[in-house]
């Protein structure tokens, strides 16, 4: 597969934080977990199309900045009202200090 896309530098995202990444007319959210792993999901909340990268990361949860919808960003799973639709997740790898995400 050759659809790995370079998103940012590994150091661009703080631990337990999130960054927005736009590519090819789509928007994604890239996360760095408290234990220093990287993850990626669709960038918009499944409730009202709000950018998740403006939200708060706590452990393995991203909270939507608008209505506190919660998702596990490692699995994409919706974690309670008002969200009920899961987020799509994407594979991430770190290569020579760069964050790459595989867009399907």
């Amino acid at each position: 597969m050759s659809d790995w896309v370079e998103a940012c530098e590994a150091g661009d995202i703080d631990e337990e934080d999130v960054m927005r990444f736009d590519h090819g007319g789509r928007t994604f959210a890239i996360y760095r977990s408290p234990d220093d792993e990287y993850f990626a999901t669709d960038g918009l909340c499944s409730h009202e199309k709000v950018h998740l990268a403006d939200g708060l990361v706590l452990d393995d949860i991203i909270e939507c900045p608008k209505h506190n919808g919660r998702f596990n960003y490692k699995t994409g799973q919706a974690r309670g009202a008002p969200v009920c639709v899961n987020l799509r997740t994407y594979p991430v790898k770190v290569d020579a200090g760069k964050i790459l995400i595989q867009l399907g």
């Binding site: 337990e16 709000v50 950018h51 403006d54 939200g55 708060l56 909270e63 900045p65 608008k66 209505h67 506190n68 009202a81 008002p82």
Partner: protein, 410 residues
């Protein structure tokens, strides 16, 4: 075997709808009945003053579809009012003549717009509460039309923003010396005031209304100062009153809403109340409050469901609400009038947050405004600090270089 009467919810809005879903999430498998007087599925109300006005095709934002309700065996009885509660027999009488039993009852009856106590109101003087109200208002929001908004609160101001977007001319009339007197600091209300004026809204503050005359086509509003405002539509947004009559007639205690304890239980142990209609002890301040807010309705609906099933869990959430007007979003966590001093934190793009501190230095509320969701993350962190009754150093709160998240660890 005795038939189980099950869980009965009166009010099919955000709170009632969430409670019904939560009962199933919690594994309850007895009957769940949800009664509402509107013809719609349970739906979210916040969009009514926003997207439902300006979107291409207005539609309800349902909390649960017919399929979900069916799949989860939630019986939704719509277009029907509950007319009486018989506590002795544990039953509810409905406006369609039927009487249904309950084991536990949840009152999620919400609130209704406060009526303007004046003669002269007619068909062009309207209120906004339901989706059908929103459709009726939307029909008048167009270029060339004049809209008068009585009340400079959130509903009125969000409608003003929507009306301007659709090209109507808008005048907001507020009796108080400024808009958003209740619960919003002046510094933030000023920003919103300026945004409206920049968009061409005329805001008249400190203006009482002497008379209203509605001939079915035009509404003439005479201000206490003597001048007249003529509009094609007058929308009245002067607050809301809790719907308590059913509870009062059943003999339940009423205290600025249906009075409940920390577990949202009324003075009858088998009847709970939640959302806009109830007053409850807010633990973080140690006083009884009533909140008219979407998230409170949602959270209390879910909490009531847990306690109807015996969880015995006390309410612990911090109040939170938001408003969108033009490109600005306001978010407030906590109740800002609890504060005695204020620390300002400036963020990027003109956004800022006011932290409200009690006399002893405890963080009791945070109010933020900015473009898009610029303040969301810090307001959420502030909410967590408020819940912990933290006393963060004012210098740290005021400095953008100190991450709020680092204060949580302290």
């Amino acid at each position: 075997m005795v038939m189980q009467a099950g869980m009965f919810i009166i009010g099919a809005g955000e709170c009632g709808g969430r409670a019904a879903l939560a009962l199933r999430d919690l594994g309850y498998d007895g009957p769940v009945t949800l009664v509402g007087d509107e013809p719609h599925l349970p739906y979210e109300r916040p969009p009514l003053s926003k997207e439902a006005m300006t979107g291409d095709a207005p539609a309800i934002k349902a909390i649960a579809s017919d399929e979900i309700l069916a799949e989860r065996s939630i019986r939704h009885i719509h277009s029907v009012q509950a007319v009486a509660i018989d506590r002795a027999t544990h039953s509810v009488r409905l406006s369609d003549g039927s009487t249904l039993p309950y084991d536990k009852l949840l009152l999620a009856t919400g609130s209704l717009p406060r009526r303007l106590p004046m003669p002269g109101l007619g068909p062009r003087c309207v209120y906004l509460r339901t989706f059908n109200d929103a459709l009726a208002i939307r029909a008048h929001l167009k270029a060339g039309n004049r809209v008068a908004i009585i009340g400079g609160g959130f509903i009125g101001l969000e409608l003003a923003a929507a009306a301007r977007k659709l090209g109507a001319s808008v005048t907001v009339i507020e009796a108080q010396p400024r808009i958003l007197m209740r619960g919003v600091p002046a510094e933030i209300a000023d920003i919103i005031h300026q945004a409206h004026e920049a968009e061409g809204v005329k805001i008249l503050t400190g203006q009482g209304i002497a008379a209203v005359a509605d001939d079915g086509t035009d509404v003439r509003i005479t201000l206490a100062g003597g001048s007249d405002i003529v509009a094609d539509l007058a929308v009245i947004g002067i607050g809301a009153v809790p719907v308590t009559s059913l509870a009062a007639e059943a003999g339940l205690t009423i205290d600025n809403g249906i009075a409940v304890d920390a577990e949202l239980r009324t003075s009858d142990p088998d009847i709970f109340a939640a959302g806009d209609c109830c007053s409850f002890p807010l633990a973080v301040y140690g006083r009884r409050v009533r909140l008219e807010a979407w998230r409170n309705a949602q959270e209390q609906g879910a909490l009531a469901a847990r306690n109807m099933l015996g969880a015995g869990e006390a309410h612990a959430a911090v109040p939170w609400f938001w408003s969108d007007q033009y490109g600005l979003t306001l978010q407030i966590s906590g109740l800002s009038d609890e504060g005695r001093s204020t620390v300002r934190r400036d963020l990027d793009d003109g956004a800022f947050i006011l932290f409200h501190l009690a006399e002893d230095g405890r963080l009791v509320a945070a109010s933020g405004i900015g473009p898009g969701n610029a303040v969301a993350r810090d307001i959420r962190l502030a909410e967590m600090l408020i819940a912990r009754r933290a006393k963060p150093a004012p210098e740290a709160l005021g400095s953008q270089t100190v991450k709020l998240k680092s204060l949580l660890a302290a």
